[in-house]
Symmetry: C2
Subunit: 113 residues, 2 copies
């Protein structure tokens, strides 16, 4: 059936879903930008984003580390010091974020015309 | 504090969030593509996407109509006939979807290296 969303089309969408899984949700892009801006300590990142709780931040940082967007470094000081830094790879999201931003700016004009 | 995510940066992110609100979730992009492919009747769209339930489809179609991505036309036939068509405006999402797709394809290579 021509009209059926072809199998290839469905599988072609998997990468779109992958990306949305990585960047969707309220906090991930905000946290990434906070780290891009130079916030590297847990408390710093947390304080830089209103209404973000420690529990949520801990989970998102773990996800982002798994997706190789950030790196977690433990310094064997006294007390132990942990720093989060953005990977060069995370910069590859800039184009996606820009595209999302531009569409969103235009969408507001369309919706609130 | 330089490192704090500046107010302007936070407000600059609102359009990114707007876009994610419009396209995020499991189904919206799949439904839009199904309609782009020519599926215009409720059952057609529903059958074209595995595991999509009528209840979810009804809600997503309503959202997408509000966001002016699709148009709902009621034909006063007997029985009444309802068709969903994509708006020209919805095509503006093609670039965003392509960017999400390309990043996702590359991300799989990075993650499963």
């Amino acid at each position: 059936m021509k009209k059926k969303v072809h199998k290839e089309c469905m599988s072609a969408l998997t990468p779109v879903r992958d990306t949305l899984d990585v960047i969707s949700g309220k906090w991930k892009i905000l946290i990434l930008i906070s780290i891009w801006e130079g916030n590297s300590r847990f408390r710093e990142i947390e304080r830089s984003i209103p209404k973000l709780t420690s529990k949520v931040l801990a989970k998102e940082l773990k996800d982002m580390e798994e997706h190789q967007l950030i790196k977690r470094t433990v310094y064997d000081d006294y007390p132990v010091r942990i720093e989060y830094t953005a990977t060069t790879y995370s910069r590859s999201l800039e184009k996606v974020i820009k595209e999302l931003h531009d569409w969103g700016v235009n969408h507001r004009k369309v919706i609130f015309r």
